[in-house]
Structures are given as structure tokens and as C-alpha cells.
């Protein structure tokens, strides 16, 4: 336990002291909230397009922010692996499980802080634009977004384990762009329908966004909330297990 907490503390401090994590994990989601709200203001009401209205946008941007925790997890791990730091730690009593938990927990904390910041900014925007946003829904959404945060961190763990410092960010950017698009953050997948919606539904990202939007709106139907939440949770568990196995086998290979 003290091994995990010591390592988690180290990782948390390393992240907090890297200015890039503020820009990407906190700054970027807020900027996107503002930009998309401005876009929304210029869409004529007759268009009937509400995807960028703050009650829809807040949940989407919360998930968008989580994709960046994936990038930072991958960066932290691939950097550690490229230097001699992990070598020294491999010769200590740290086990592979200690490393994995020590990487995941601080990122989860960052993810929650990020979500609080995004939703607070969302509330302010809602007040300014006169859209109704339920505080209870936002609070609930913080908890409902834990599975998707675990999924993105798990993906980061996987990329950071499999790829080096140069390749890992590339793969993450791919998932960030594809995931946020096919997660339906930037367009209304449901009213678009067709092949597009089918593709969205094959990937886990759409369910993350759906869970976020439904929980903030306090809609708890099976199709709009329960099923997406369960799918996200199952994907999160699967990704974490796969990433942990990858880390373990990579560690074994490093020590062979």
C-alpha cells in the first residue's frame, strides 16, 4: 500500500508541476467550451441544432477533457520507460501492480478535478446564456464519468507501455480526434443516423458522451443512461485489464 501511495504521489506531483498539463487538461476544455458556445450563438434558432448548447456541450467537453488524461498518462509512462528511472524502481520491491495502480490513481484525481472545472465553467456559461443546467445533474455526472475516465487512462497506460515517447502521443492524438468526433461531441450523431451512427455505436466513445449528457440532464432511461453506462464500464474494465497485462509482460521482457 505504501508503495502504491508513494508512487502515486510522485506521479501526481510530476503532473502538477508540468505546465503542459494545465494547458491541456484544464485550459483546453474551457477554451473549447467558450468557442463552441460562441459557435452556438451564431447558429440560427430555426436550424434546431442544440448540440453546442451548454446543456449538451458540458457533458461532451467533459469527455473531451478526459481524452487528454489519456495523452498525459501515455506521456508519463513512455518517458519513465525511456529513462533510467524505471530501471532503478524495478530493482526496488515495487511490483507491476504497484506501478499500474500508482499511474492510474493520480490520473483519476486529475480527471475529477478537470471535470469539476469544466462543469463550473459550464454553469457560468449557462447563467450567462440563460440556459437551464441542473447542479444536481452535474454532481451526479462527476461520479457517472468515472468509468470513462478509467477507460481513457487505461488507453494511456496501454499506449505508454507499447510505444515510445515519440510514437505514443501520435496514437493518442488519433484517439483524441477520432474519439471526440465519433463520440458525437462535435456533431449530433443521432439525428445524422445512417452509417455514421452505426460506426459511432461500434466504438466505446459514443457511450461515454451519452452517459455524460444523460446524467447531466438527469435522464435515467435504459437506452439513454443505463446501457451506455454499463457499456462504458465494461470497456473500461477490459481496457484496464489489457493494459495491465501489457505492462506486466513488458516489464518481464525488460527484465529478461
Amino acid at each position: 500500500m505504501n508503495r502504491i501511495s508513494a508512487f502515486a504521489k510522485r506521479n501526481f506531483k510530476e503532473l502538477l508541476r508540468d505546465p503542459l498539463s494545465y494547458i491541456f487538461c484544464l485550459g483546453f476544455p474551457i477554451i473549447m467550451l467558450i468557442v463552441m458556445t460562441l459557435v452556438n450563438e451564431s447558429i440560427p434558432a430555426e436550424a434546431g441544432m442544440t448540440i453546442f448548447r451548454i446543456d449538451n456541450l458540458a457533458g461532451g467537453i467533459a469527455v473531451f477533457g478526459q481524452t487528454f488524461t489519456m495523452l498525459f498518462t501515455a506521456l508519463t509512462i513512455s518517458k519513465d520507460r525511456s529513462g533510467a528511472f524505471l530501471v532503478r524502481m524495478y530493482a526496488s520491491p515495487m511490483k507491476s501492480g504497484d506501478f499500474i495502480a500508482g499511474y492510474i490513481f493520480p490520473m483519476m484525481l486529475i480527471s475529477i478535478i478537470q471535470c469539476v472545472v469544466t462543469y463550473t465553467a459550464g454553469l457560468v456559461i449557462a447563467l450567462i446564456t440563460g440556459v437551464e443546467l441542473n447542479i444536481g445533474g452535474l454532481l451526479l455526472s462527476l461520479i457517472c464519468l468515472v468509468p470513462s475516465s478509467v477507460m481513457f487512462i487505461g488507453l494511456g497506460l496501454l499506449f505508454g507501455t507499447l510505444f515510445n515517447e515519440k510514437a505514443a502521443p501520435g496514437f493518442c492524438s488519433l484517439v483524441i480526434s477520432l474519439g471526440s468526433f465519433l463520440g458525437g461531441i462535435w456533431f449530433d450523431a443521432e439525428s445524422t443516423g445512417g452509417v455514421m451512427l452505426k460506426i459511432c455505436k461500434v466504438l466505446p466513445f459514443w457511450y461515454c458522451t451519452k452517459t455524460a449528457r444523460s446524467s447531466t440532464a438527469l435522464k435515467f432511461g435504459n437506452d439513454e443512461f443505463v446501457i451506455p453506462l454499463v457499456i462504458t464500464a465494461v470497456c473500461a474494465a477490459a481496457v484496464t485489464v489489457i493494459a495491465s497485462l501489457a505492462f506486466r509482460s513488458k516489464m518481464k521482457a525488460d527484465l529478461s
Binding site: N2, R10, E14, R88
Partner: protein, 243 residues
Amino acid sequence: MYSVEVKNLTKKYKNKTAVDSISFTVKSRELFALLGVNGAGKTTTIRMLSCLSAPTDGFAAVNGHNCIKNSDDVKKEISISPQETSVAENLTVRENLRFIAEVYGFSKEKIKLRTDKMINLFNMHDIADSRAKTLSGGWKRKLSIAMALISEPKVLFLDEPTLGLDVLARRELWTAIESLKGKITIILTTHYMEEAEKLSDTIAVMVGGKIAAMGTLAELEKISGQTGLENAFVAIAERSADK
């Protein structure tokens, strides 16, 4: 009891034998130096002894624990300062030290005690609260070694501890290492004759993955028929290269 026991230890990479069936023992609380040129196999040997690399063949034990079968027991009693400096860059000197002490599960009081002790031993008072990434290479190296020492290892592996240090810093580090002599077992690698001569009880000369000669300085001089470690080393290295 021996602190380190090595028998026919071998490490082969695809088409390269990095360590070629070496055997030696190190007594408890002895300072043992592996002296050799670049690529002699020093780091590979240390990696196998500290459970960072699995031997292709042979036997290695630290404090009676088999390095392959009981690596968990070995890891509790050793520390390594790798050849490349390894510190957490965004943590301060003090935080780096505390981090390692925490990993080893020390109590709060002991963490503070050991951290202060390391800062004293390596004269790091002025930089104790600076982030590691702002330190010069020499200070980083000292921190890296202090991090290996803070866990109170019974066996300490130092891979080229004074690499990249200036003359003064090197002497300072020698003093710190000398102050540990007789307290713990230390295995260090170096290609500086002076360092091996000054610090070690026993010197093993490694050439091309093999131990070409081993003994105290006087014994090496006798084996080679030369005076001074440098002359002895050159004679031993040339003789085994001729073979």
C-alpha cells in the same frame, strides 16, 4: 557468509556474449570493484546481480538469496545506482529521497531521519529544495546515489558512480563512499584506476566479458609483475586479449 556469490554467470545477447562464465565471491562488508574498459560487461554483471536482467546461464546469489528464484528477497536487501542518472526530474532533492524511503515502507520519523542523513552525507543542504531537473549533472549523480543509499541496503551496487564528475566532486563522493566502508557491501564499477585503487578491498579486472584477474592491488601487481594499478591493468588486459 558471502554477500555475493557468482558461479559461471553468463549473459548472451543474440550474437554477443556480454558476460562469459564469470565466477567470484564478495565477502560481507567488502568493497569490490569491477574494473574494465567500455563494453567489458560490468553493467551487465551488475544488472544480473540486481535482478534487472536474467542470466543466460550460471548462478548468482546475494546474501544467500538466489537472484533468479528469490528475486523478491534480493530486492529487499539491495539498491542500485544505475550508470545513467535516474531521479524524478520534477521532484525536489528532498522529495526524491522521501519518495524512495516511502517505497520501502519506512515510518514517518525514520523517513525524516534518513532523508536528513543523506542530505548531510552528500552536502546537499543548499539544493535540498531545488527540483532535480535544475541540478547540474554532478549533483544529480550524487542525488541518484543518495537515493540508492537511503533504503539502508545491505548490498549497494554503484555503476560508474563518478562518471561525469569534476575532480572535486569526485573526491567528495569518494569520501562519502569511504565512510560506508565496513558498514555495507559495495560493488562498484569503474574505468578509473585511481578510483579502484583508492576505494576497493578487492579488484576484478574484466576484459571481454571475462574476469582476467582478481585480487587486492598487491596481488594484481604480483600477478602482472608490474607496479601500480594502471600498469598492472594494462599488462593483464593485453595478456588476456592475446589469448
